[in-house]
């Protein structure tokens, strides 16, 4: 073993010398070229390639600005806090709409209004932009979005004699009932606020009023009740009961006929379940239409030294040219109204995803977002495990927890 250790030492030292001599960060000519550091989370190779192409195009058009992409692996929210606390955060970074209220309240990110063309801003889907607006100021420009829609197995529908996707709660329940047979469940529903909140919207409820939680209304209870009733009646099951990681797996493995998920299902199904013949439909409506929309923006660090250049980067990456590249790729739905048309023209079967945006609210519930979601999840669990007599009681208890 001594020999082994000696060998290792020698090897490490040799390698160390070699390493020391070759790998130095390339120095950029600071006088002429401004470097903007762009913080993004890890994404699939196809998504990375899209961003790389957008960056390449930007650098061609703005030769005096260089974008340095920093991929943040692991827990993005945690790592960003590490960087912000050590004052080493990137100049421009991805910001999930869910985190936006905290970042705005703590003044981590800078308002962008003075760099923006007011008319151009009108091209962004208004519900998305609202998620990054506070006190009349815009703190981030959304790059893309995803709504929740119904993904259904066409073959199973045909076999059960259902000719069209359900459009109302009643039809949804009937379809789920018919489709539940031979070990297959009608729906896969996870106990997750990010999936059942649309049902609360559909029964006319609000989750929050600014920073104040207001989700203990009879309307909210109605939505939650319907969602859980599908599970209790056995027409739906949770992914855990089905032994899968998430709803998408349940559809891919043909364990259910329907799931409620977003556009990320499309590339997933293509690779994981090319043999499943599925369709996309709008979310069935309750008393009214309602849905959640998930979106991500580019935001600017309040501490960046190169505000003008950072703003150029944000404007380009959410501009028509960059977003038309997004639309063409089909990897995400571009956040601009004008580009939504480009996307649906190329991918007509995905139109429901775009259609739902006008009925949607962003996945964000004020500064107490994470507390509200925890409480809602717990309320749903209580109802599901029959720890409370009805949805209203569960929600009443939940609202106390938030306060």
């Amino acid at each position: 073993m001594k020999k082994l250790i000696a060998l290792f030492t020698a090897a490490v030292m040799a390698v160390g010398l070699f390493a020391g001599s070759t790998f130095k960060p390339a120095k950029v000519n600071a006088a002429t070229k401004k470097v903007i550091r762009l913080g993004v989370w890890a994404s699939s190779p196809a998504e990375s390639e899209l961003l790389d192409n957008q960056i390449k195009e930007f650098e061609r058009l703005y030769p005096n600005i260089k974008i340095q992409k920093l991929v943040i692996t692991g827990d993005y929210n945690q790592v960003m806090q590490v960087k912000i606390a050590s004052r080493t955060e990137p100049d421009v970074f991805y910001l999930d709409v869910y985190q936006a209220p905290a970042y705005i309240a703590k003044k981590v990110i800078a308002p962008l209004d003075s760099y923006l063309d007011k008319n151009d801003v009108k091209d962004f889907e208004p519900s998305l932009l609202k998620g990054f607006t506070s006190g009349g100021k815009i703190y981030g420009l959304p790059k893309d979005y995803n709504t929740l829609v119904l993904f259904y197995n066409k073959d199973m529908f045909k076999e059960a004699g259902i000719t069209k996707a359900p459009t109302t709660w009643k039809e949804l329940e009937e379809a789920a009932k018919k489709l539940t047979k031979n070990g297959v469940k009608g729906l896969s529903l996870s106990i997750d606020a990010a999936r059942f909140i649309p049902f609360m919207f559909q029964s006319g409820a609000k989750i929050n009023d600014g920073d104040k939680p207001v989700f203990n209304t009879p309307q909210a209870a109605k939505g939650l009740d319907f969602y859980v009733s599908l599970l209790k009646k056995g027409y739906a099951a949770t992914p855990k009961e089905l032994g899968v990681g998430w709803n998408g797996d349940a559809l891919a493995q043909k364990k259910v006929a329907m799931v409620i998920e977003g556009g990320w299902m499309i590339p997933f199904m293509k690779d994981a379940a090319p043999n499943v013949n599925y369709g996309i439909a709008r979310l069935p409506k309750g008393d009214k239409e309602g849905d959640l929309v998930f979106t991500v923006a580019y935001a600017m660090s309040a501490r960046t030294k190169n505000k003008v250049e950072a703003a150029e980067v944000i404007k380009f990456l959410t501009g028509r040219q960059a977003l038309s590249m997004t639309a063409e790729s089909g990897l995400a739905i571009p956040s601009r109204i004008s580009m939504g048309g480009v996307y649906t023209a190329k991918y007509p079967e995905r139109k429901p995803l775009v259609d739902m945006v006008k009925y949607s609210q962003v996945y964000q519930f004020g500064i107490k977002s994470s507390k509200i979601l925890d409480a809602l999840n717990k309320a749903c669990e209580k109802l599901y495990y029959k720890k409370v007599k009805d949805a209203k009681t569960a929600l009443d208890q939940a609202i106390k927890e938030v306060k």
């Binding site: 827990d75 806090q81 106990i191 089905l242 032994g243 669990e381 720890k387």
Partner: protein, 315 residues
């Protein structure tokens, strides 16, 4: 220890003189031996630790624009709040139950396995590698496997139905989720403790076993009266490390509950709750207070163990 008595030679007068001189030198040499560690800990650990301790008396989040030194003091209120926070108390209870279940079982299995693969049995290397492999298998793979095994129509429930037992919803049931995580933890960490026991076993002189065998001791007696007493330092090590590890459990609870600690807080552990309050709810001061409460609990438990093992007097 019996070993010492056996090999100790009565020192002569001149030897006593040199020993005295050497004892003086030892004081310096002792510090020279620990110097690399002391420097490293002083630079990289003590400072951050003091900062974290300071934060436990402040209201602060890492998103704040003011530095942590300028953040407002709140006195003991973080600590007081913690003991009135039902979720934290639930997390503490869960973590204690988890530790109480996992520590004895995993150390017992590890010791038995170490004793077995220390024997000259056929395929010894194979068994050693096989039992060690769970420690290098990724948490992702493990949780996927366990989801498959524990699902409602999974292998485990099929085996149970063989004995006419009803199927259980292992990860979904509020009473079963924690025991399920405990099983995962035991499975994946037994190999680590086995390796340490195995190394400790090598320090026990063969001559003692030979002597015992001549006296007609059985295998069980050998283990109870030679192996276990002489393995005490290793057992103490494994006990302390396992206790610390179980009280700081995070990964398994995070993976199984998607970070929520659900269903209904049944898998909420102290460190998971600390992570949630600190990084998700942006209350780092409160999270730091939780960390130091946890620290105090583990420290007291370790001191009790240490007394129990008579660590200090023995060597």
């Amino acid at each position: 220890m019996s070993l010492e008595v056996k090999t100790n030679v009565a020192p002569s007068k001149t030897k006593v003189m040199t020993m005295k001189r050497l004892k003086r030198r030892e004081k310096i040499e002792g510090w020279l031996f620990v110097l690399p560690f002391v420097i490293s800990a002083a630079v990289f650990f003590i400072g951050p630790l003091l900062v974290a301790f300071m934060l436990s008396f402040k209201e602060y989040s890492y998103l704040d624009m003011v530095s942590m030194f300028e953040a407002p003091w709140v006195g003991l209120s973080n600590y007081i709040n913690a003991f009135q926070d039902s979720t934290f108390l639930r997390a503490l209870l869960n973590t204690s139950l988890y530790s109480l279940g996992v520590v004895p079982i995993q150390l017992f299995i590890a010791l038995v396995l170490a004793l077995i693969v220390d024997l000259n049995i056929k395929g010894k290397t194979f068994f050693r590698v096989a039992y060690y492999i769970p420690t290098v298998t990724s948490t992702v793979a493990v949780s996927v496997m366990f989801l498959f095994i524990f699902k409602t129509d999974g292998i485990l429930n099929k085996i149970l139905s063989f004995f006419n037992l009803p199927p259980y919803n292992w990860f979904g049931d509020t009473r079963l989720a924690l025991p399920t995580i405990m099983m995962m933890a035991i499975w994946s960490s037994v190999g680590l403790y086995m390796v340490i026991f195995l190394a400790g076993l090598q320090d026990i002189p063969m001559s003692l076993y030979e002597a015992a065998r001549i006296d007609g001791a059985s295998k069980i007696q050998e283990v109870l009266y030679i192996t276990v007493p002489l393995l005490k330092p290793t057992i103490f090590f494994n006990l302390v490390v396992s206790l610390i590890g179980t009280f700081q459990v995070f990964d398994q609870a995070f993976v199984v509950s998607n970070g929520t600690g659900g269903p209904l807080d049944s898998t909420m552990t102290v460190v998971l709750y600390l992570y949630k309050t600190g990084f998700r709810d942006f209350q780092m001061g409160y999270a730091s207070a939780i960390a130091f409460i946890l620290f105090a609990i583990i420290f007291i438990l370790t001191l009790i163990q240490r007394k129990f093992f008579g660590e200090e007097t023995e060597f």
